[in-house]
């Protein structure tokens, strides 16, 4: 099945949910700030949306077609953690992330 704009949009939504879910998780667990339960719930909800969207996409497309997006997702997540969580970025981390992302793309390309 070829990738239609709608399917591509769904992939983007699924991957965004993955990033947003992780940010929520970290936010909930990282501090003693109020609203920990709400953030945790929001994280689990976004993860659930991702899970079902992803399963739906997997039934339509090959995993090897979808997996490269997971590699790119990693770069977006690191950027989001840097911007929204103000986590420290090191050169090591950038190099590592790029290597892992390239690796994920290769693993799925074959």
């Amino acid at each position: 099945m070829t990738m239609t704009p709608i399917a591509f949009g769904l992939v983007v939504v699924a991957e965004s949910c993955s990033v947003v879910g992780q940010i929520f998780f970290k936010h909930a667990m990282g501090g003693d700030a109020p609203g920990k339960k709400a953030k945790l719930t929001a994280g689990i909800a976004t993860k659930a949306v991702e899970f079902f969207l992803w399963n739906g996409l997997l039934s339509q497309f090959d995993l090897s077609y979808l997996y490269p997006f997971d590699g790119l997702n990693r770069i977006v997540l690191v950027l989001a953690a840097w911007i929204f969580l103000k986590e420290k970025m090191t050169l090591n981390l950038w190099v590592g992330v790029l290597l892992i992302s390239a690796g994920v793309v290769l693993v799925s390309a074959s």
């Binding site: 992780q22 940010i23 998780f25 970290k26 909930a28 667990m29 990282g30 501090g31 003693d32 945790l40 079902f52 399963n55 739906g56 039934s59 997971d70 990693r74 997540l77 690191v78 953690a81 840097w82 969580l85 986590e87 420290k88 970025m89 090191t90 090591n92 981390l93 190099v95 590592g96 992330v97 790029l98 290597l99 892992i100 992302s101 390239a102 690796g103 994920v104 793309v105 290769l106 693993v107 799925s108 390309a109 074959s110």
Partner: protein, 139 residues
């Protein structure tokens, strides 16, 4: 080199069981286990559009869900102490564990390109984790 292992000032309790890095490991292994179980469950059940629901009919499916929940709890525990971008990238090991266990347990093939990818991921995780190892040694 300073790595903010405990950026919030919180310290895990003593003992290996409370070590957040042990829990990244648990989370990774459980996540890979979940993938293998779900795949087994999915091949067992009838293939249809409702695959995601049908998997609940097989014991493997439930085992996979149990593993996934365990993985989530370990993951949340480690996030209390470890920065997200470190934890997430160390968890990149899943990308290696899943094809390896698919090869060993499900008899799936690993091509040359895929091996290259696995080596790249391993190198990347090593680069991310190396400064941490140094810090942990000092502790």
């Amino acid at each position: 080199m300073e790595v903010t292992t405990h950026e919030t000032g919180k310290k895990p309790r003593k003992g290996w069981f409370f070590n957040p890095y042990v829990h990244i490991g648990v989370s990774i292994v459980m996540s890979a286990t979940a993938q293998v179980c779900l795949k087994k469950g999915a091949t067992e059940s009838v293939t249809s559009l409702w695959l995601g629901v049908e998997v609940l009919r097989s014991g493997w499916g439930w085992l996979g869900i149990l593993a996934m929940v365990t993985s989530l709890f370990s993951w949340l525990y480690c996030l209390r102490f470890v920065p997200l971008n470190i934890a997430f990238n160390v968890a990149g090991l899943i990308q290696v564990l899943v094809p390896l266990s698919a090869w060993l347990l499900l008899g799936e093939n690993i091509s040359a390109t895929r091996w290259c990818g696995i080596v790249l991921v391993l190198t990347g995780v090593y680069v991310v984790a190396r400064p941490l190892m140094r810090v942990e040694e000092k502790l």
